[in-house]
Symmetry: C2
Subunit: 714 residues, 2 copies
């Protein structure tokens, strides 16, 4: 072959190879691939189609350093794990496979167009009872980190753990007998896997769970039909029944009447149509874009958004454009719901252990089911899918797990009208439009709606709504007049034989604030102190004086909110001043301030010690992401935010993380039966001398000519 | 004339008379009537056309016992006052002319179709320096009550008081010289009338006011250009200057740059259009009706709504339909913003007295200017006008003072999805649609947006938004680096030479709760107490126990909220139990919990003592409507809610009134310059065992077929 022809041949060959590679990477995958995903017929409803309505997840590849693992990457990880004899030969369970995020500085310095930093997976794998924490380099196929440390807790349960726990007791004859004795048909049984918490030696050194059951007879709302007092202690690994506590045999199972809340089962006469159609409309389309599946750009905001099996939603690299300079400025590197703590207030045998940690025990994201378009989110919403991993390493798609939408509620961004006093003809008003990122997790009975809301004025609101179904207790009583005055019910009689037990909800947010850069922030308490005037100084005797205190170390920033000694809580960049010399910053504006009042030595409160304060500030530490510790299931509270913070590390002019806990006390009432109207609380992070002036002074008011033209549907 | 013919004649005559009367009452009034209203050319902008865009107010007549006075009724009152020699001969000023509401039992027992109870006006008239409180029977023309008691304060200023106060100092040569010395042209002057509060004997026995001025040169936002330290003490009646305090001559007047916030004055390059059009759309029309101008009916709610010159908005006879029985049930007889208290935190000469009470001093409703359609309220809003009375008795129309609209913000009323744990194919979600009643008062610089929001689940939310313009202080500094470390500025340097002074806002709501009837309610504190378990009782050491305490007397119900000793606050009807035996009730859910921390002996706090607790409960007393007392201007605090409550009257199983104070601490920041993004807080009243179960279980979800079809505007 002559030289030129040889070159032609080589060129042709390379072209074909490149074309093949390109085709392989980008074409819709052959159907055979679907066999590598969870089969919907077997795993419904937590499987989903690999081709969701939005996109072909097979063809997806990562485009940004923080992008979650793709189906292909997860399949590679599975192969790598399988290639390790220790795992493949003796069997293994994957408790978590997620992106191991590159170091913060790598992410911050990465620029579009560059090669992605090495894609790595953080893998938690359990084999022969031992938990391994691995870092797997997806490209090289190498395991670059492997730890099998002495952890006090176990990793998040797998969905398979939870499902098998609900049926395992049926293999036990004593259990079945107990059920039948209560008059319940085994076919009607619905059981729930209840994390045991940790209450001392007896339950250590093996993964255990408690199972309690309900009857589904005549209702899908089995939560309202508890088989009270029957508690099975189960070994989560062997599925063997360790113990059965069969108390409360005298307590009747509450009736099914009026418990079904489904619209489809209502008789026509029961349906109410109180309202005419109403909708948020944007006929010109939304004002946001989502680049490369994950970068949300809206108005002056920009951030990375991704689903996470543990946190639910993670927002990263939250930045806002400065209206004066046009520059994009850093606000927060990472924000997410780090942990939940839900202690019930009943110390009796069948209830004392109900002190859930929904992120670290159940996976807050794993429980975030597909959102219901038009009802969970308005018509103008965009939906994002999650890609998660089953215990055997098979990826699956959780469709419509997150929605993003613009929200106009008729609220006012700012306004001023001149009054008759001055007589000036001024009336300037700007409507408030916000961007909402939403997910809704159904952790068995309860539903948590988590919203991140962005305002054009720079404010970010984190809001948690509680709905769903109460965890109720069977009771012998049908009316309060049967209850002896000295008897305490631990809750409210909601309906005949049903008590709604008092409980708290705490949702702890991790807020890695990076005000104008990652490494130099401080936490400042601006305390409003009552100051008395000196005699003769003023006709006034008193006023409030703002006194600034910069927190030097973590203990300075363990904040218990005080109603009568109020403060603002600023995160500032002490190295950057506004034009008139104020440090630029954001403040945390508390809301949902209920505090946990359990005894600090109570085992659940030890594990939930991150709720001892509403606010904490820690120096950034890659490993301190989860407020209850890396492994929460049956943990003893030795790896919590409270423990880290007590190290009292310096936090002044450092890269710092703020933790805020939203709290709710919930005394149930009859209106919560059989399903709860949503209750919400929120807190805010809000610019404080971050901008030189009102950043939305120049936006335009609504004008009739811009609004859509609508007509009723046919 | 023969008998039959005579009868025919009489019958004919009576018919003609009736026809004439009917025509007179109902036909659009002749234009000559307009001369009896404020002339817009003279009184702009607080006059308005008698024929607003919504209705012919001349033709209006009352249809419900609580309906506000009509133009005709006001004109009759004026005639009656004029017919009293004592007033007409020596001159008088009307400070307030409003409906004297019939006794509660009369209103409650009145039924549609019956004759209205006698229409009476409550009139506050000042003549020769004496304040008279009159009840005028409009039909008979008789004054049925007349009091000239010894009041510690004066009535609400008239708009005429406020306007004349702003120009009166110009008649004083010393004042003019001081202005010129500051380099301000008299033509550029804008002055504000600042209620003096009360600080002892020196200012007693005459109506005084302080006037401070600004320059309007190069900006309409003169609030940002204070002539700092120049304070005129003025006699409000004689308009004589009593004293001029001319401090702060060394303080430059801040520049006008960047203070104008109007869209119309922005250059094209300065305008930002961040967002595509978005709108709440209801092409089938709203779901509410407003009967006879004032009875609002929406979904399961029904209430009477009216504008009020002092309170702003009054909602009365708030009732909700029980979904089980179909019956309409009483919730609240009357709800309104009773008083505001806004103390500034600067004890220096030109600032110490700034401790505004915007309802009792300025008239919160008088300052509620017309709302801006599409910006203050969404497109689907209905607007209601106010009819108020000038100092000489002339009625005028405040157009679009209140708006009513349905709000859909993409929120969730309730939801539940089953998780993989149970595998049930359930996802039931209901959207949340609410009804909002809104007004916005501009009390000089500040704008208060007051929302009453009704949810179909029975919850009522009272929300106050703060926007508008800060009251700022001139300063010699242009940068914080000029400020000595020991110097305290009483606020934040917002821009060159401008300090935003720290202040509080308190808005006290009067909530006359009538749970299932007016006369038999109790206030119950449901305290969550930490309870330790006995040794061996439980693996748990602690839990929260709900302990009910029924308040016997007023002092039992003086509630200072406690974060670490939390309670729920129920208003129950102890005589009515739910099916399972819980007393029916509503609870007050606190929010905006900032408390006033001024010294109780500080003069402004004595007058604002109603903010000493967040919650108070008083027995119903017709005369106890206004938390700071009937007459607030220069009052000494001897007629406040705190004084009434200290009588410690019995409140168990009585007709009771709950008072809730929303509080804000405001440390200004640069983002508040030159106009403030809205900050909001709200509290709720919420059913608690009022319904047998979730009252919105049967409403229907959104369905694509019901939603409107919209296209972009041309």
């Amino acid at each position: 072959m002559e030289g030129r022809n040889f070159l032609r041949y080589i060129f042709f060959l390379i072209s074909i190879i490149l074309l093949l590679i390109f085709t392989f990477l980008n074409l819709p995958s052959p159907l055979s691939h679907t066999t590598e995903l969870l089969d919907c017929t077997t795993y419904s409803p937590w499987c989903t189609k690999p081709f969701s309505q939005h996109k072909n997840h097979y063809a997806n590849f990562p485009k940004y350093p923080l992008d979650p693992l793709t189906i292909k990457e997860i399949q590679k990880v599975k192969k790598i794990i399988n290639s390790i004899d220790e795992f493949s030969k003796k069997g293994y369970v994957l408790h978590s496979v997620v992106l191991e995020e590159p170091a913060k500085e790598v992410v911050v310095n990465w620029r579009k167009g560059r090669r992605l930093p090495p894609r790595k997976a953080a893998v938690v794998v359990r084999a022969v009872g031992v938990v391994h924490v691995l870092t797997v380099d997806i490209e090289t196929g190498r395991v670059t980190r492997r730890e099998t440390g002495d952890y006090s807790g176990y990793p998040i349960m797998t969905i398979e753990d939870m499902i098998t726990a609900t049926t395992a007791p049926l293999a036990n004859a004593d259990f079945n007998r107990s059920i039948l004795e209560r008059g319940v048909d085994l076919a009607d049984l619905a059981c729930l896997p209840i994390a045991t918490g940790w209450y001392g030696k007896a339950e250590e050194n093996r993964r255990v769970i408690k199972v309690q059951c309900y009857t589904m007879k005549d209702t899908i709302n089995f939560y309202m039909r508890p088989i009270e007092g029957l508690t099975v202690l189960l070994d989560l690994d062997t599925q063997q029944v360790i113990d059965i506590l069969d108390e409360g045999k005298n307590i009747p199972i509450p009736k099914a009447a009026n418990t079904d809340y489904r619209f489809s089962t209502k008789k026509h006469t029961q349906k109410i149509n109180l309202l005419k159609p109403i909708s948020i409309e944007q006929p010109n389309g939304p004002s946001f874009t989502i680049e490369n599946n994950h970068i949300v750009k809206w108005a002056n905001w920009e951030f990375h958004l991704k689903p996470d099996p543990r946190a639910g939603v993670i927002i990263s690299q939250v930045m806002i454009q400065d209206p004066d300079t046009g520059k994009i400025r850093n606000v927060m590197y990472k924000g997410f719901t780090s942990e939940l703590f839900v202690p019930y207030m009943d110390p009796s045998d069948a209830w004392y252990f109900k002190t859930y940690m929904d992120a670290g025990e159940y996976g807050f994201g794993l429980q975030a089911m597909p959102l219901d378009p038009l009802n969970d989110c308005p018509r103008n919403a965009y939906y994002m899918d999650g890609v998660f991993v089953a215990a055997d390493g098979t990826p699956y798609v959780r469709e419509n797990m997150i929605c993003v939408f613009e929200r106009y509620a008729g609220d006012i961004g700012w306004r001023h009208a001149e009054s008759p006093i001055t007589g000036l003809p001024i009336r300037e008003v700007r409507p408030k439009v916000t961007l909402v990122v939403r997910m809704a997790a159904s952790v068995a009975n309860y539903d948590y709606i988590v919203d991140w809301e962005f305002q054009t004025d720079g404010l970010i609101r984190a809001k948690v709504g509680l709905s769903g179904i109460l965890m109720v207790k069977g009771s012998p009583y049908v009316n309060m007049n049967q209850v002896n005055q000295n008897e305490y019910l631990y809750g409210t009689l909601l309906s005949e034989n049903i008590i709604g037990v008092i409980h708290d909800h705490y949702i702890t947010f991790h807020l890695d604030m990076d005000i104008d850069g990652p490494s130099n922030n401080s936490f400042v308490k601006v305390n409003l102190q009552k100051e008395m005037t000196s005699p003769g100084e003023s006709p006034r005797r008193s006023y409030l004086k703002a006194v600034r205190h910069v927190a030097k170390t973590e203990k300075d920033a363990q904040i218990k909110l005080k109603l009568y000694d109020p403060s603002e809580f600023h995160v500032i960049n002490p190295n950057k001043k506004s034009r008139v010399g104020n440090p630029v910053g954001y403040k945390v504006v508390p809301g949902g301030t209920a505090a946990s009042l359990l005894d600090h030595d109570d085992p659940p409160q030890k594990r939930g010690a991150f709720t001892n304060n509403q606010i904490w500030v820690t120096p950034y530490n890659e490993s301190e992401q989860w407020a209850a510790g890396l492994f929460v299931y049956q943990s003893q509270g030795d790896d919590t935010l409270a423990v880290w913070s007590d190290r009292d590390r310096p936090i002044e002019n450092k890269d710092i993380v703020v933790w805020y806990t939203l709290g709710f006390h919930h005394i149930p009432c009859q209106e919560d039966f059989p399903i709860m109207p949503t209750v919400s609380s929120s807190f805010e992070i809000k610019p404080v001398n971050f901008f030189e002036s009102n950043p939305i002074m120049r936006i335009q008011p609504n004008s009739p000519k811009d609004l859509p033209i609508c007509k009723a549907s046919a």
